[in-house]
């Protein structure tokens, strides 16, 4: 079937084939035709033709979001404001899977493009991606798998939803596989709410499965802990998800999807150095961290401040994991285990650094 819809496809520097973490500060650029997942998409969904690929570095977009978005809109404007026959119909971004920076980029680009050019802009993410909460109300986010293994179904789902939108079809959570946007829709039901509620209750009492019509939001928030009263006598601890480990990574903490955290001694250590410590993180360019690990976990100045009396004392162990695609459940588990050890040593305050 001939392509009916002309699309711009947005990718980060990895999927766009321009480089790894060394190219994470790449400014947005528009390349002709399809790249990487875009080529695959054209094969999977022949209705869609990828006319151009927008590639932007993960760090560039995450750190300079406003600038990046204005540059991206300027690059895309001619395509969306073209003459009718050459006009682009939609924008696809991702899938971002469970990648935080990539998810934020896809969300920000889709939101801006939809608002600026009034065309469908669809992305796909794993439901735990931190960008979901930020963008799900403004952006249609197709459900994607956790990592690139799920590329095929995630692409199909994302493009399928976009085609439906272009055909003027209605999308409904439950029927279509996307992250609900929290909208309410009026419709005529056969039975009144009271009858439906009692039906549900009877099913519940009988132990039969039933599904609610209104899913309650889960607020997984923690109240702020009280401020430290007297910093001069407080015990402080250092924790990082930036992957700073002793040289050689003795616990073999994984570069992504870490299955553990490490607890490492600080006794007698006045600073980290390239000889003693390194980064085990696979989600950023570790050149600067390996040169000087204090750039991730600032032990050198923490020791100076301890000597100057800016706080009481430093807990003599630091805790590290790699926060790269780590599941929420695992992060929670590591946090709880670390908290137990901190409490046992009377720690009142923590500096937790992330990359």
């Amino acid at each position: 079937m001939a392509a009916r819809y002309r699309a711009i496809f947005c990718l980060n520097q990895f999927f766009g084939g321009l480089g790894g973490e060394d190219k994470a500060y790449l400014a947005p650029q528009l390349l002709e035709g399809a790249r990487g997942p875009g080529i695959f998409l054209e094969r999977l969904v022949p209705e869609v033709e990828v006319v151009a690929t927008l590639v932007c570095g993960d760090n560039y977009l995450a750190e300079k979001t406003e600038l990046a978005i204005s540059e991206i809109l300027a690059l895309l404007r001619p395509w969306f404001e073209n003459e009718e026959k050459d006009r682009v119909h939609l924008l696809l971004a991702g899938p971002a899977f469970n990648a935080g920076r990539y998810g934020l980029a896809c969300g920000a680009i889709c939101k801006a493009v939809r608002e600026c050019f009034a065309v469908p802009a669809v992305t796909a993410m794993y439901p735990e991606n931190p960008a979901v909460e930020e963008y799900r109300k403004d952006v249609l986010i197709a459900r994607a798998g956790e990592d690139v293994m799920a590329m095929e179904e995630s692409l199909k789902n994302m493009a399928g939803l976009a085609c439906k939108l272009l055909q003027g079809e209605e999308l409904l959570p439950g029927r279509d596989d996307y992250i609900p946007q929290g909208r309410r829709k009026n419709y005529f039901a056969e039975k009144s709410g009271a009858v439906r509620a009692v039906d549900m209750l009877l099913k519940k009492l009988a132990g039969e499965p039933f599904s609610t019509e209104y899913v309650m939001p889960v607020f997984d928030r923690v109240a702020p802990a009280p401020a430290v009263q007297d910093m001069a006598i407080a015990r402080l601890a250092l924790v990082t998800s930036g992957g700073i480990v002793p040289h050689g990574n003795p616990d073999r903490i994984e570069a992504a999807n870490a299955s553990r955290f490490g607890a490492y001694p600080l006794q007698g250590l006045s600073a980290f150095s390239a000889e003693t410590h390194q980064s085990a993180h696979g989600g950023y360019d570790a050149t600067f961290a390996n040169e000087n690990p204090n750039r991730i976990l600032p032990l050198d100045v923490v020791r100076e401040l301890e000597a100057e009396g800016a706080f009481g004392s430093l807990h003599d162990t630091y805790y590290a994991t790699v926060g790269n695609g780590t599941s929420v459940a695992n992060a929670k588990k590591y946090g709880s285990e670390i908290a137990k050890r901190l409490l046992a040593d009377g720690v009142q305050a923590v500096i937790l650094t992330s990359t």
């Binding site: 934020l104 430290v228 600067f288 600032p298 992060a331 305050a349 990359t355």
Partner: protein, 75 residues
Amino acid sequence: MTKAIEEKGIAVVHACSIVPISKTVGANRILPTVAIPHPFGDPDKDPEEEKKMRKELVEKALRALATPIDQQQVF
């Protein structure tokens, strides 16, 4: 991790470069840092200046830990 530690009543300051992620995840005391691959450093600065900046950031982190808050706050 931040929340699981804070849940036990220990004040945590989350120092990171992508503030929107920290907010979404639910950290309460958030300290924006320099850049993703070097939150507490800047390889373009000379080492002394870089260390001075790092110290100022940690001092800011300590101030955040000593600041009473009742909701998320970016310092």
